[in-house]
């Protein structure tokens, strides 16, 4: 089993963190993982993306060219990464910030209003968690409960009070995706 994921958006949407949590959760579940961020000049307020590989074998390349799933949090990311999804793979689109439709018909497109759903969970900042929930509904490579455990670890005591809200965001994201599967 090797799962290759691209998570993309713009700075501040938490796409790098979302990718890290996936990698972390994979590691916690005993898989081999890698996380590789874009670190070009675009990291200053522009687009941000990362490649995550979760595998039962040694991770050969941390660079994802053919993604099993691409998560695109804004329009620029859709335009950049739609082509990188493997035929039959998933493209998860944050429709709140993407006003165009994907052009390919050989991939599965999941539309998630991540910003609105996050707001209903308690904060727009949890849009990255909504999208993680949606991803897990599609792929289930790592368990939701592992993701929560990793969140607790990363957030620490100081931000512990935010866990229930994030948990809710993940749950709502999952439901939104399941409705389309």
């Amino acid at each position: 089993m090797t799962e290759q994921i691209i998570v993309a958006g713009f700075g501040g949407q938490g796409v790098l963190l979302a990718g890290q949590i996936l990698a972390y959760a994979g590691m916690e579940e005993g898989k081999n993982v890698s996380w590789f961020p874009s670190y070009g000049p675009e990291m200053r307020g522009g687009t941000a993306n990362c490649n995550v590989v979760i595998s039962s074998d040694e991770v050969a390349s941390p660079v994802v060219v053919d993604a099993d799933c691409a998560i695109v949090m804004n329009k620029a990311s859709l335009m950049q990464f739609e082509k990188n999804v493997k035929p039959g793979g998933y493209l998860i689109v944050n429709t709140d910030l993407v006003d165009i439709k994907p052009t390919r018909d050989d991939i599965k497109v999941i539309d998630i209003a991540a910003n609105k759903i996050a707001e209903s969970a308690g904060s727009i900042k949890a849009a990255n968690m909504v999208i993680l929930g949606a991803y897990n509904a599609c792929k289930n490579v790592v368990e939701n409960k592992t993701i929560i455990k990793c969140l607790e670890k990363i957030m620490g005591e100081r931000k512990k009070h935010l866990i229930p809200m994030n948990e809710k965001a993940i749950e709502l994201g999952k439901e939104a995706a399941l409705a389309q599967l």
């Binding site: 590691m27 993982v33 890698s34 670190y39 941390p62």
Partner: protein, 353 residues
């Protein structure tokens, strides 16, 4: 100890701390900034020294001072900064001071770009600065290996009194992977009785840390002594990893992160029925010439893959002595080769194109 998910740069820094590094001197340059940033937090916690120097030139000379005073010391930079350090590295090599220098290579020449590259292979393996010297050059392919090689690097540096370079690239510096810092058996290392620590006039000779030898015969003796040391290192310290080479008709030779991608290509090519293996030099100097020589007697062709325009290629050609065709596939500018591109090169090679 439990596995942690760490950025390569941070794992390199923590590995140095675990190896007993007591001083770090650096200067900001992308994509290695997490190393000095980490050290600026970590060194005060362990009673070590951290200085953000005014330049890479100053930083490497601080390394010279701290190493000359007997401390385990490290510096890190990226390509343009490493060029600036070359003066100091040459002095360190001649004065036989142990230290670890990390180069998280970016693309060049000139200011170049900040994306991954292997364009500093020549500079690293040929000494880099002026004069007749070598560094031990270690090329990690994973974050775990980067951490391990940094720790080994300190021991090698002390054992041979030589600067050790860990040659990574932007990919290994920036990526996160699980790392485990294992307890390591204590290595017996020579006493640093040559270090300048203050002289009481009796317990040892007066320490003079120096690289100036005006008289021809004296300088020549120093050169011979260095050469003897380099010979010893070539004999003892070569590291190389072979992957699926036993039945291989072709091999890829690649180092560092590119070897991972090449490994992927090996598996893909085998799915297409091409029996390919991978030879991955871990020490770039000393270069695993024997391993390359040996495999060149078994295979029909070799493909060198690098993120440059063909540098290790020369060492592979030297070691294989024209026995088989040695082809090359390289990417530059920060473009990372894709496994399929490498497979396509293998197909071409097999078809004799």
């Amino acid at each position: 100890m439990a596995k942690e998910l760490m950025k390569g740069n941070e794992a390199i820094a923590e590995a140095a701390v675990k190896a007993g590094c007591k001083a770090f001197f650096g200067y900001p340059i992308t994509p290695q900034n997490q190393i000095p940033e980490y050290m600026s937090r970590r060194m005060p916690q362990i009673g070590g020294a951290f200085v953000q120097a005014e330049s890479e030139v100053a930083a490497i000379n601080m390394v010279y001072g701290a190493a000359g005073a007997g401390a385990r010391v490290m510096t890190s930079s990226s390509s343009p900064g490493i060029s600036l350090k070359q003066e100091g590295i040459s002095y360190i090599a001649c004065a036989e001071l142990p230290c670890v220098i990390v180069n998280i290579v970016r693309s060049g020449p000139g200011l170049g770009g900040i994306l991954p590259s292997q364009g500093d292979y020549f500079q690293a393996t040929r000494g880099g600065g002026h004069g007749d010297y070598r560094l031990i050059v270690l090329a990690p392919a994973s974050v775990q290996e980067a951490a391990d090689l940094v720790m080994d690097g300190f021991d090698l540096a002390d054992k041979y009194r030589i600067p050790v370079m860990v040659l990574g690239d932007g990919m290994i510096g920036q990526m996160m992977e699980p790392v485990e810092f294992q307890e390591r058996p204590a290595v017996e290392l020579p006493e640093k009785d040559w270090a300048a620590t203050g002289w009481d006039g009796k317990s040892r000779d007066r320490a003079i840390v120096n690289s100036l030898y005006i008289e021809a015969d004296v300088m020549s003796e120093v050169n011979k002594k260095l050469k003897a040391k380099y010979d010893e290192i070539e004999k003892n310290e070569v590291r190389v990893q072979n992957f699926m080479t036993d039945d291989a008709d072709y091999v890829i030779v690649a180092f560092g992160t590119i070897a991972r991608i090449a490994k992927n290509a090996v598996l893909k090519a085998r799915e297409q029925g091409i029996k390919v293996g991978l030879v991955r030099p871990i020490t770039l100097w000393p270069f695993p010439a024997d391993a390359v020589d040996k495999i060149s007697r078994q295979v029909k062709g070799m493909l060198v893959v690098e993120m440059n325009q063909g540098q290790m290629l020369e060492d592979v050609r030297l070691a294989s002595e024209g026995r088989v065709p040695v082809a090359f596939y390289g990417t530059t500018g920060g473009i990372i080769p894709a496994p399929d591109d490498i497979v396509a090169e293998l197909v071409k090679m097999k078809e004799g194109k």
